[in-house]
Amino acid sequence: MIDIVLAEATGDVTDAGKAIGLALGVGLGATGAGIGIGLIFSSMIQSVARQPELRGELTGIQWLGFALTEAVVFYGLLGSILAFVLV
């Protein structure tokens, strides 16, 4: 058993570490952005349900907030890819 584990570990461990780092970076970034986008749309629904006449004004703000939050994933993605390629 120990022999097998040792044999497995002699593969390219650096690549594995990089891949784990990439996945963690993108995954955690996506988690945060997912929560944020959910909050934005939920408050949009609540606002429109309370005051439907404000829909036009709120739509612009909603998409602004959506794009600002969504971009966070890509900062994580970019940083992770940089780490994956350069390190």
């Binding site: 612009g60 998409w63 602004l64 959506f66 794009a67 600002l68 969504e70 971009a71 890509f74 900062y75 993605l77 970019l78």
Partner: protein, 284 residues
């Protein structure tokens, strides 16, 4: 239905999968820039690459769009074409320019912001239309592919630099240099200022990075996503995946074209308007 699926699967298995194999497939190769027309002036590299061709196409199309929709045969009672142009204009005015720019500056900066919106929208959109501009040939025919000029950081950084320069230029022009740079210092206890002021300056530079990286990474990730899913067929060298792969790639394609393309152009223009507006009127 089940029999048809079984038949398709059998046929797919029988199909010579080696014909599908293109050897090593790497989606990132689609984003490499090759010099098609090398132009070198001193240390400057002004070569015409794929991104440059797409930008030229985008500028021509933007101008054509503006002239056809908003200038050509304008009537008092608008037809469909003119109504469409007026709607774009209205979005640019009420949703973008009036969101950020103060009233006294709209006349001067509305054209810039509206141009940004239209130009980025067109460049993003032609990035999702297959064009024979990949630079590769297959048996003498040009290979058709998708590529967006905005998925190159150089392009988006140049656009963001324009906004960055205009922001501070306008801030200094309207407020004077002393008053403008003083407005960067917030109301805070004096002891904390040495911490807050560097952060504020860093924030101004981070705006440049976030503005450019947001557009760049969005377009790059969208294209890589679509290409990777299509490329799964070539990486795994099988056609069985085709129904799955094509469905997912189409879903992402529709998401990108319907939502991301418009939103990113809108965001870039709106944020430019907000940045310029906040520099013109620092105390809000």
């Amino acid at each position: 239905m089940r029999r048809a699926l079984f038949l398709i699967a059998t046929l797919a298995l029988l199909a010579p999968s080696s014909a599908f194999a293109r050897g090593e497939f790497d989606p990132t190769h689609e984003f490499e820039q090759h010099e098609w027309v090398p132009i070198h002036i001193g240390p400057l590299d002004l070569s015409i690459t794929k991104a440059v061709v797409y930008l030229m196409l985008g500028s021509v199309l933007t101008m054509a769009l503006g002239i056809v929709l908003m200038r050509w045969r304008v009537q008092v009672e608008p037809g469909t074409r003119q109504t469409f142009g007026e709607q774009i204009y209205e979005v640019a005015q009420t949703q973008i320019a009036e969101q950020g720019l103060p009233h006294k500056a709209i006349g001067r900066w509305f054209p810039y912001v509206a141009t940004l919106f239209l130009f980025i929208f067109v460049v993003n959109l032609i990035g999702f239309i297959p064009l024979p501009l990949t630079g590769e040939t297959y048996r003498g025919f040009p290979v058709w592919g998708i590529y967006a000029a905005t998925s190159s950081l150089a392009v988006t950084l140049a656009l963001a630099l324009l906004t960055f320069v205009f922001t501070h230029f306008e801030g200094i022009r309207w407020n004077g240099p002393v008053h403008y740079f003083k407005s960067w210092i917030p109301d805070a206890p004096k002891a904390l200022l040495f911490l807050i002021v560097p952060l504020e300056i860093l924030g101004q530079i981070m705006r440049l990075i976030s503005l450019s990286v947001r557009l760049f990474a969005n377009m790059l990730a969208g294209h890589i996503l679509i290409l990777t899913f299509i490329g799964l067929m070539f990486i795994l060298e099988t056609v069985i995946l085709a129904p799955f792969v094509i469905t997912v790639a189409t879903a992402f394609y529709i998401f990108e074209v319907v939502i991301v393309v418009g939103i990113q152009a809108f965001i870039f223009a709106t944020l430019s308007a907000i940045y310029i507006g906040s520099a013109i009127e620092p105390q809000h």
